[in-house]
Amino acid sequence: MEGNDFGSASAPAVRVTDLTKVYDAEDGEVTALDGISLEIERGTVVGILGPNGAGKTTLIKSILDLVRPTDGDVAVLGADVTAAGGELYRHVSAMLEGARNVYWRLSLRENLRYFTSLQGIDPDEVAEENLAFVESLGLTDKLDEPVNSLSRGMKQKATLACTLARRTDLVFLDEPTLGLDVEASAALVDTFREMVDRDEKTVVLSSHDMDVIEDLCDRVVVLNAGRVVVDDSVSALLDAFRTQSHRLRLAAPLDDVDRAAVAEVAESVSWSGTSDAVELTVTLEAPDDYYRLMRTLESAGATIERAETTTPDLESVFLRVTDRADPPTDELAVGGQR
């Protein structure tokens, strides 16, 4: 097998150091990436989240050497990507534009044959294995239909099959569920999950869809304005916010002075309810603020009928993190890893 001596066996799958990319635009320069550093361990599934223009695609394309950075270094499996040449692509493949990465006029069988060959692998020798990819994606009866005639979800699965046919250790998936309805997106996520569980691949996934990231990824990197604002495990990130968001039901409404006192303690608070009872949802800056909240309510003479910690989804965490991170500053990093 060619390319076995690529890079270094002990190096992480991806190491990005001080990566900066500045594009020339008509009205001046645009900084897409602003000194990003991160590492991705082998065999992990990492999600890259960020609002439009955060730099997700530029980061992925820089790692793939499809975009040359203005400054900084990218190493894949220990090898500098700008010096690796074609050997890089024996180890890295990508699904970049959802369904548009295959030839729509050709059938899935023809596409599979072409993209396997593009990798230098004889498609006749791996025909059965390729059929297994197709079967696992539920596309066996669509093999000889032009991709053009498939539904959008099936087109994206066909693209995934062609990406898998390249048989690389690292797979990049840029917005793989973009444009899919909820059902098709969930089906594709199931497919990704099976792929991740079955193969020991390193997968880097960028998405706007927080559910996809939450379902699939071990770790999430949140980008905003070209910088890393969060780099932590999905569970730690959710835990960090879970302890800070609470919903309380009070037996009676509070007057304006007491409400103002609660608002002093909380980072944010919302009120709802009737004349008999009132519900408030509070978000606290730090876990210890919960005790201050309780003392404030006690001073106000409030009777707490029910108290619960709310479970944030990644979406609300993401919105809060990116909202707070504009402009990004050091203390905004959650989990302490930047």
Binding site: E2, G3, K21, Y23, D24, A32, T58, K61, L64, D65, L66, V67, R68, G85, G86, E87, Y89, R90, V92, S93, A94, L96, E97, R100, N101, V102, Y103, W104, R105, L106, E110, R113, Y114, F115, S117, L118, Q119, G120, I121, D122, P123, P146, R166
Partner: protein, 257 residues
């Protein structure tokens, strides 16, 4: 089978599949090429019967070379734009063989397909004009390939420019007019013309088909010049394409269209 052979086979298969999928387009292209020749031939014979009768061989060979050159050139320069529009261009870059070799192989396959289409058009022209031409494939095929390859090199340059500037169709079309100039100017009067695409090859093809000269009967310097021009233009075009692809990656516009 080594990787390059696998890639070449796949490139050929893809070209055939796409020609079949766009069958109507392919047939109309061949018919259109023939009709244009028929128009030139019959129209010319009506207006200047003696001139056309005296130079039928030159007309047939000149049209054949121009038609093949234009197709090979257009395919090469427009392939890059088409792949970008389809969203597959970056996937070609993600090949261990690199986008340069993938596009080069595609161009060579385009030349082969163009030769097949050229054969069909040539047969139709011979039947239409009732001209007796010496069609010795051992001579014609290598000379035709070496004649067209420099044009493919020019096409690669425009393909590379399309990576950067996206819309280069107008400039690329102007180049086709240049091909007519290269074909039409007499080689004897302008010796330097033998170093531009098409000129020397067309003259050799005309001689081979009109007088039956065999490949090994041509002067060796002519054959060497034909070979050198083919290698230089194709190699130069390949290097320019690769340099422009690197430039496109620096600008971050490789997959844009």
């Amino acid at each position: 089978m080594n990787g390059h052979a696998i890639l070449f086979r796949a490139t050929f298969e893809k070209a055939v599949w796409l020609l079949k999928r766009y069958l109507f387009n392919t047939v109309m292209m061949v018919v259109g090429m023939y009709l244009l020749f028929a128009l030139l031939f019959f129209g010319g014979r009506m207006m200047a019967p003696t001139v056309v009768s005296d130079s039928t061989e030159a007309l047939v060979v000149g049209y054949l070379v121009w038609m093949m050159a234009v197709r090979a050139y257009q395919q090469t320069s427009s392939d890059v734009t088409r792949e970008a529009q389809w969203g597959t261009l970056e996937q070609l870059h993600l090949s261990p063989y690199g986008i340069g070799r993938v596009v080069l192989f595609t161009s060579v396959v385009n030349v082969l397909v163009t030769l097949l289409i050229g054969g069909v058009i040539l047969g139709s022209m011979v039947v239409t004009t009732r001209t007796a031409l010496a069609i010795d494939l051992v001579t014609i095929v290598p000379v035709a390939v070496l004649t067209i390859l420099p044009v493919v090199g020019v096409g690669l340059c425009f393909g590379g420019l399309a990576l950067l500037y996206k819309r280069v169709g107008q400039a690329a079309s102007l180049m086709q007019l240049g091909f007519i100039v290269f074909l039409a100017m007499p080689l004897d009067a302008h010796p330097l013309l033998r170093f531009v695409p098409l000129s020397l090859g067309t003259a050799l093809l005309e001689e081979a088909m009109a007088t039956g000269t065999r490949l090994w009967e041509f002067p060796v310097p002519d054959l060497l010049t034909l070979l050198a021009v083919a290698v230089l233009y194709l190699g130069g075009g390949y290097l320019v394409f690769k340099a422009l692809a690197t430039r496109a990656r620096k600008r971050g516009v490789l997959g844009h269209y």
